[in-house]
């Protein structure tokens, strides 16, 4: 991949008491790419995302997001990064637009500007049909899409998505994947997302990283990894096979 490095992680380590959550992680991500971050539950994916946002302090190591150090300048990082946590929550007694308006205000966007933006992002995530409906009555797929809208409303350069398709039905998750792809394609936003649903990662990622027990065991384009690990080039392979190979070794 060519292009500007937008996220650089160098020897990032996080200990929870004696337990290592992230172990000397080094990684570079270029602008505009969709990076899939794979690993079983508890591999340290969320912890890495939290450290990149400055919400959690690394035990050692450094990271730069859009040129800012999240530990020192968390506010600057948060201004340019949109984060969709796993199982995102909303204020259920407000409707979609009100939730978005609140987030816009927190980002310092004046109400007259945000109104236009909110209409626009609601259209992108296909939630414009029911402007009066309270978020409490939303389905899981709708909530997840509203989460994407909330991330987009601040016009980020980078988005972190933590398990964005978890618990969605097939239609909902393909809609979600479509949406994630369009972020990179149409808006040139760098997408860094974690997941353990391998076929989905394979569908949309430019590159993947596989994380097991806190360390990054592999990183690269899927076909490169396949060549390296399975020794197959042109044949059919799935990410799952590669992943299981790494997983058994790890």
């Amino acid at each position: 991949m060519d292009g500007k490095i937008i996220i650089e992680i160098r020897e990032l380590t996080k200990f929870y008491e004696e337990q290592v959550a992230v172990d000397h992680l080094s990684l570079k991500i270029t602008e505009g790419e969709v990076f899939g971050f794979l690993g079983p539950n508890g591999a340290g994916k969320t912890t890495t995302l939290l450290m990149l946002l400055g919400l959690s302090e690394p035990t050692s190591g450094k990271a730069w997001v859009c040129g800012f150090d999240p530990t020192r300048d968390p506010l600057k990082v948060k201004r340019v990064v949109g984060y969709l946590p796993e199982n995102v929550g909303f204020y259920d007694d407000m409707n979609a637009a009100e939730n978005l308006k609140f987030v816009s205000r927190l980002n310092g966007i004046p109400d007259d500007q945000s109104a236009v933006k909110i209409d626009e992002v609601l259209k992108i995530v296909d939630l414009q049909a029911e402007p009066r409906k309270k978020v409490g009555a939303f389905s899981r797929g709708m909530r997840q899409r509203l989460g994407i809208a909330e991330v987009l409303v601040k016009e980020p350069q980078v988005v972190f998505l933590d398990e964005p398709t978890l618990g969605l039905d097939p239609e909902g998750s393909s809609q979600m994947l479509e949406l994630i792809q369009s972020l990179s394609r149409d808006k040139k936003i760098t997408v860094f997302f974690s997941s353990h649903l391998l076929d989905q990662v394979q569908k949309i990622s430019h590159r993947v990283g596989i994380m097991i027990k806190g360390s990054l065991v592999a990183v690269g384009r899927i076909d490169d990894l396949a060549k390296e690990k399975l020794g197959i080039g042109q044949e059919r392979y799935t990410l799952e096979e590669i992943y299981m190979k790494y997983f058994k070794e790890g």
Binding site: T46, L50, L53, L55, S56, L75, K76, K78, R79, Y83, P85, E86, N87, V88, G89, F90, Y91, D92, F102, V103, R105, L106, N107, G108, E150, K154, D162
Partner: protein, 320 residues
């Protein structure tokens, strides 16, 4: 910016919530009924009598048939604070909005400051409304306009009450930071309320007996012991914010009270001269008497909020 946004949203939430409406209605009703009772009984008593000074303040301090307004606020004010704050942080946590909130470009303390500020504003509006309503009712019932000093005293009373209820707001926010479940934090806050408002004043007397015992024979030879005992009891009872508050406010609202001591040791001549020159204290002197009370009340409010602030800032917040 973040602070104001959060404060604004919290205010909107408070004023539209059912529990706030219920509580406010309840307190308003009780206050109005009390004020009405006091007002009518005062009107009857004041007939054909030369009007004493500071009649207006008696609307708030005299107890009518049941209790005075200030003792009512002393008892139930804490509940307002607790209701406004017990789920401040834990609600965000259980709705999973907390991690989203702090991943926005705002300082983390904006969240807790905004919530405390919104709570304090709500309390102020509520108390101001109650005091103004009662004043209005009082004006109609007894037909006496409050003088400037009375208004000042009322304003001071209002400020102290806001601090007092904000203390309880701080306590309940502290619990909402430390406990994950809203029910636990509500219960803990109510337990604290019962302990400090009801148990401490009750326990103070037996504890004082234990610490500095008095018996009839020794007291006769050494009255100093009695004073000592009384002082111990007093110090112990001041551990209750409610005692702090009610002693502070009654002195502020009642210019004739010259001390917060309940035990006065004086000879018959002294007593005579005191009753002969029974005149109201100027406001500055009233403040002077209860200055320690007021400072302690403000101090515990600040300390309590500071603890929850630190606890919140150091907490690791994860989405799961």
């Amino acid at each position: 910016m973040g602070l104001l946004t959060i404060c604004r949203k919290e205010l909107a939430d408070h004023f539209s919530s059912t529990r706030f409406t219920l509580l406010f209605t309840l307190i308003l009703m009780v206050s109005l009924v009390t004020a009405y009772m006091v007002g009518t009984s005062m009107r009857d008593e004041l007939k054909e009598v030369a009007k004493p000074t500071f009649v207006f303040l008696m609307l708030f301090t005299s107890s009518g048939k049941l209790f005075s307004l200030i003792s009512f606020i002393a008892f139930f004010g804490p509940l307002i604070g607790i209701v406004l704050g017990f789920d401040a942080i834990s609600r965000e946590r259980s709705a999973r909005t907390l991690s989203k909130l702090i991943s926005q470009p705002i300082y983390r303390d904006a969240v807790i400051n905004g919530k405390f500020l919104a709570g304090a504003i709500t309390i102020s509006i509520m108390l101001l409304a109650i005091v103004l309503l009662i004043s209005g009712l009082g004006l109609r019932l007894i037909g006496i306009v409050p003088g400037p000093e009375e208004i000042l005293r009322l304003a001071l009373y209002l400020v102290i009450s806001i601090f007092y209820i904000s203390f309880w707001l701080g306590i309940s926010i502290l619990f909402s930071v430390s406990f994950r479940s809203m029910a636990t934090s509500a219960l803990a806050a109510i337990a604290c309320w019962i302990l400090f408002s009801f148990a401490v004043p009750l326990v103070a007397a037996p504890l004082a007996d234990a610490i500095s015992p008095v018996d009839q024979q020794t007291v006769a030879s050494n009255p100093q012991l009695l004073v000592q005992h009384e002082q111990t009891r007093k110090i112990l009872s001041l551990f209750s914010p409610m005692t702090l508050y009610s002693e502070g406010t009654t002195t502020i609202l009642d210019p004739l009270r010259k001390t917060t001591q309940s035990l006065l040791l004086m000879g018959p001549m002294e007593r005579l001269s005191i009753s002969r020159f029974q005149s109201p204290l100027p406001l500055s002197q009233s403040i002077y008497i209860v200055f320690p009370h007021l400072i302690s009340l403000i101090a515990i409010t600040v300390v309590c909020f500071a603890i929850s602030y630190i606890a919140f800032m150091r907490q690791e917040i994860r989405s799961t």
